[in-house]
C-alpha cells in the first residue's frame, strides 16, 4: 500500500503506484458493493462535507453515497445558495468550515486552482471534485477502473478522447492518468476546442474522427460544455454532431471490441448517438457511474487513514 498524500487534488502529483493502490482498493469495493456488503466502520465518527460551488447531481450523489456506505456523517452544502452570494471569500468560507472540524471536504469550484487554494487553509483531507477546466481526479480514476475491468489491463491501450477538450477537466485528468500508466492517447476535437500546446504532453492530436479513432481500444466521449463557452467555438450543434458526434459509423473505425465511455451528463444527438450510448455491448457508461462510488470510497478510506496517522503523530485525537 503506497498512498501517502493528504489530499486528492489532482492526478498530476500521483505516482503510478499510488494510482494502482487506489484502483486495487476500488476494485474490491466495486465487488463488495455488488454483493451488498457494507463497511460502516471505515469512516465511522468522521464528518464529510460536500461543498459544491457548481451544479452537480451525479458527482455529488456519488460522493454522498460513498461516504454513507463507509459510515461517515455526510453533509452536503449547495454553495451557490450560501454565504458566497453574500460576498464571503473562498478562504473565509474555508476557515469557517474548518472551525467545525470536518474530516473530509469534497469540493467542486468553477475556477481552476480554487480547490488547491482551499486545501492550503484547512486541516482536513480535501478531495477535488472538479475545479474549473483543471482537474477531476476521481473521474479519471473511475474511468481507469472501468477500462481496466473491461480490457483486463491499463497499459499499452490506444485510447481516444473526443470532443470539448478545451473546457474539460475530465480530459486533463484522464490525459495525465492514462499517460502515467503508459497508454497511447489520441485527442480528437475541432481545433477551436483543442487546448494550445497540448501536443507537448505526449498525446496525438487529430481533428478528424476517422483518422483519430482508427484502431483504438477505448473511445471516451466528452460533453460539449456549453456553460463554459464564452463565444462560438463551433458553428452549430448539428455540424458538430455530423463531424464529431459518435455514431455507429464512426465507431466502426475503432477496434471491433472498442468500448464507449462518457462522463455524463450526455447531450444525446450532440456528441453521442442515443442508441449507441444505450448499447450494452459497447457502452460502459453505466459501469462508469457504478465505479464512481467504489473509487470515491477507496479515495476517502485512504485519505482518512492518512489523516488519522497525521493526527496521531501530532497527538491529536482523530
Amino acid at each position: 500500500m503506497t498512498f501517502r498524500a493528504s489530499h486528492l487534488l489532482g492526478i498530476e502529483p500521483l505516482h503510478p503506484d499510488e494510482i494502482r493502490t487506489l484502483l486495487d482498493l476500488s476494485d474490491r469495493y466495486a465487488e463488495e458493493n455488488r454483493k451488498g456488503v457494507r463497511h460502516r466502520d471505515v469512516l465511522a465518527g468522521m464528518t464529510q462535507i460536500n461543498m459544491f460551488f457548481e451544479n452537480s447531481t451525479r458527482t455529488q450523489a456519488s460522493f454522498e453515497l460513498a461516504g454513507k456506505r463507509l459510515g461517515a456523517d455526510v453533509m452536503s452544502m449547495a454553495m451557490q445558495a450560501s454565504s458566497v452570494k453574500k460576498g464571503e471569500t473562498l478562504i473565509d468560507t474555508a476557515l469557517t468550515l474548518n472551525a467545525m472540524h470536518p474530516d473530509l471536504l469534497i469540493v467542486r469550484h468553477p475556477q481552476a486552482g480554487a480547490v488547491d487554494l482551499l486545501a492550503q487553509k484547512v486541516n482536513c483531507a480535501v478531495i477535488n471534485a472538479g475545479d474549473g477546466p483543471h482537474e477531476h481526479p476521481t473521474q479519471a480514476l473511475l474511468d481507469a477502473l472501468t477500462i481496466r475491468r473491461a480490457k483486463g489491463r491499463l497499459h499499452r491501450l490506444s485510447i481516444a478522447i473526443c470532443g470539448d477538450i478545451a473546457h474539460s477537466r475530465v480530459a486533463r485528468s484522464n490525459i495525465l492518468l492514462l499517460g502515467k500508466m503508459e497508454n497511447r492517447i489520441r485527442l480528437i476535437a475541432p481545433p477551436t476546442l483543442m487546448p494550445a500546446g497540448i501536443a507537448e504532453l505526449g498525446v496525438e492530436v487529430f481533428d478528424d474522427m476517422q483518422q483519430g479513432l482508427a484502431d483504438v481500444d477505448v473511445v471516451m466521449m466528452l460533453r460539449l460544455q456549453k456553460e463554459r463557452m464564452d463565444g462560438g467555438f463551433i458553428p452549430s450543434e448539428r455540424e458538430y454532431y455530423h463531424r464529431f458526434g459518435l455514431d455507429a459509423v464512426k465507431l466502426g473505425y475503432a477496434k471491433p471490441d472498442a468500448i464507449v465511455m462518457h462522463p455524463g451528463p450526455m447531450n444525446r444527438g450532440v456528441e453521442i448517438d442515443g442508441t449507441l450510448a444505450d448499447d450494452i455491448n459497447r457502452s460502459v457508461i453505466q459501469t462508469q457511474v457504478e465505479m464512481g462510488v467504489a473509487v470515491r470510497m477507496a479515495a476517502m478510506e485512504l485519505l482518512a487513514q492518512n489523516l488519522r496517522a497525521r493526527r496521531a503523530a501530532k497527538g491529536v485525537m482523530a
Partner: protein, 431 residues
C-alpha cells in the same frame, strides 16, 4: 546637507549610460548638480567638501521608474505617496512617474493638482504624474490634454486598458501630437486578450487557466504603429514582452516613427512556469511569457530595441491576491526589488552595467524630457550607490511599500543599495 554643499564620491565604479562605460574614479557634486567625473586622476576635494568613500561600489544615475501605481486617491491603504517614496529611495529610484489608473482616475487638472500636492508634501523622491488619455479611462472621449499638460502631466495613458475604439484612439493621438504630448499605450488586442489570466500554451492548458496567445501583443502593437504612421504622435509602448512583437517594433523605429518601448522587470526575470500552483503573486498584465520570449526581450534590452525597464509597481493588498487565480488582482510591487532583480541579468552575463542603466535611468529620463539619468556635468545629482554583489534573501515583510505583493519573497538576490541621493541630498542610506 545644504543645496550648495559639495560632495566628492571617492573611488567608485562610475556607471555611465551615455558613454556606455564603467570606470573607476571620483565624482564631484556641487549645489545638487554633477560637476564632473575624474577617472584618470584623483580629484582633490575642494575645501569643505564632504568625502564619501565608495570603496569600489557602483555609483550610477538614480533610476527613473515609469508607470508606478500609488494608491492615492482611492486606495491609500495599498500605497501612499509617503510609502511609495520610501520604497523608491530604498531601491535606488529617484524619480517615479505615476500611473493615472487610480480611483477615481487622474483625468482632470483638478485631480492632477491634488496628487501633485500630495506628492510634494509626502514623497521623498521626485514624482511626475501621468494623466489618463480618455475620461474615466473609458476609451470614449479624450481628456483635457492641454490643461493636464499645463498642470504638469508628463504623459497620457489609460494604463492597462486599451483604447479599443480605434477612432477615439486616432483622435486622441492626433490631438496629443499637436501639443507634443507623449502617449503611452498598452499593447494588446483587447478582444483576444479578454478574460485571459496566463499566456496560452502547455502550461495554461495543464492548469486549466484561460490563456491569451502571445500574438495579441503584436496585434496591439501593429495597430498602434499604424496609428502613429497616420498621426505622427509621440508614443511609448508600456510593455513589449514577446519575441514576435520585436520585428514590428524594430521596423517602426527604422521607419522613423517617434516610438519607444518598455518592459517590466518581472517579464525580464520570470517566466510563465513561475506561476506554478496558482501563485497569484505571479499574476501580471500582460501575463508572464515563455522562457524563449523572456530571452528574446532580454536581448532586445541589451541591444536597445527595448528602451526602458520599469518596475510596473502595482501594490495589491492580501485580499486582492488571496483568491482563485482568475479572480485575483494582477501586478506586483517592484520599486525596491527593481535594482536587485535587474542585477540578475547582469550577474547572468546577459546585460552589462552601463546598458542596464541606460534602460533604468537614461532612456526613461530622456523620454520624459528630464535632465537627470546620466553622470554628465550639469545633470542633477540623482545618484544610487550600490554593492552589486552583496547577497541577501528577500523578506517581503521588510519592504517599505504598504503592500507586500512581491514575487521575489524568499528569493536569493544580489545587489544592495548603500545610498540614494536626490539632487545631491541623501534620501536613503543602508542602515
Amino acid at each position: 546637507m545644504s543645496r550648495q554643499s559639495t560632495i566628492l564620491f571617492r573611488d567608485a565604479r562610475l556607471i555611465d549610460p551615455v558613454a556606455l562605460t564603467e570606470l573607476r574614479g571620483d565624482l564631484l557634486v556641487r549645489g545638487g548638480k554633477i560637476v564632473d567625473a575624474f577617472t584618470d586622476k584623483r580629484a582633490t576635494p575642494p575645501g569643505g567638501a564632504e568625502v564619501i568613500e565608495c570603496n569600489g561600489a557602483c555609483l550610477a544615475p538614480g533610476i527613473v521608474d515609469i508607470g508606478v501605481k500609488v494608491g492615492e486617491p482611492g486606495n491609500r491603504h495599498k500605497e501612499s505617496f509617503r510609502s511609495a517614496g520610501l520604497a523608491a529611495a530604498a531601491g535606488g529610484v529617484t524619480t517615479i512617474v505615476t500611473r493615472p489608473d487610480t480611483d477615481p482616475a487622474i483625468d482632470s487638472p483638478e485631480s492632477l493638482q491634488f496628487i501633485a500636492r500630495r506628492a510634494a508634501t509626502d514623497a521623498i523622491v521626485r514624482v511626475l504624474p501621468m494623466a489618463a488619455l480618455t475620461k474615466g479611462r473609458l476609451g470614449r472621449e479624450m481628456t483635457e490634454i492641454g490643461f493636464l499638460q499645463d498642470a504638469g502631466a508628463v504623459a497620457f495613458t489609460d494604463g492597462d486598458r486599451v483604447v479599443a475604439d480605434t477612432k477615439v484612439c486616432a483622435r486622441a493621438l492626433t490631438y496629443a501630437r499637436s501639443l507634443g504630448a507623449l502617449v503611452i499605450g498598452h499593447v494588446q488586442e483587447p478582444g483576444l486578450s479578454a478574460g485571459a489570466a496566463v499566456t496560452s500554451g502547455k502550461f495554461a492548458s495543464l492548469r486549466g487557466l484561460p490563456g491569451v496567445s502571445p500574438m495579441a501583443e503584436r496585434m496591439g502593437l501593429d495597430r498602434d504603429i499604424s496609428l502613429l504612421e497616420m498621426t505622427g504622435a509621440r508614443y511609448h509602448a508600456d510593455q513589449i514582452t514577446t519575441a514576435r512583437a520585436l520585428p514590428a517594433l524594430e521596423r517602426a523605429k527604422r521607419n522613423g516613427l517617434d516610438i519607444t518601448a518598455g518592459i517590466s522587470i518581472h517579464h525580464l526575470t520570470l517566466n510563465e512556469l513561475d506561476v506554478a500552483d496558482y501563485r497569484t503573486f505571479f499574476k501580471f498584465k500582460p501575463p508572464l511569457r515563455s522562457e524563449d520570449d523572456r530571452l528574446a526581450v532580454v536581448e532586445a534590452v541589451r541591444t536597445g530595441l527595448i528602451d526602458i525597464i520599469c518596475s510596473m509597481h502595482t501594490p495589491q493588498d492580501e485580499e486582492s491576491k488571496r483568491l482563485p487565480f482568475e479572480e485575483a488582482a494582477s501586478g506586483a510591487v517592484g520599486l525596491e526589488t527593481l535594482l536587485p532583480a535587474a542585477l540578475r541579468l547582469y550577474h547572468a552575463g546577459m546585460i552589462d552595467m552601463p546598458r542596464l542603466f541606460r534602460a533604468l535611468s537614461l532612456n526613461p529620463a530622456r523620454r520624459m524630457g528630464l535632465d537627470c539619468g546620466s553622470l554628465l556635468p550639469g545633470a542633477p545629482a540623482d545618484l544610487v550607490l550600490f554593492d552589486p554583489d552583496a547577497p541577501f534573501v528577500l523578506d517581503r515583510a521588510s519592504l517599505h511599500s504598504k503592500s507586500k505583493n512581491t514575487p521575489f519573497d524568499g528569493a536569493r538576490m544580489q545587489g544592495k543599495v548603500l545610498g540614494t541621493w536626490l539632487g545631491g541630498k541623501l534620501i536613503s542610506e543602508r542602515p
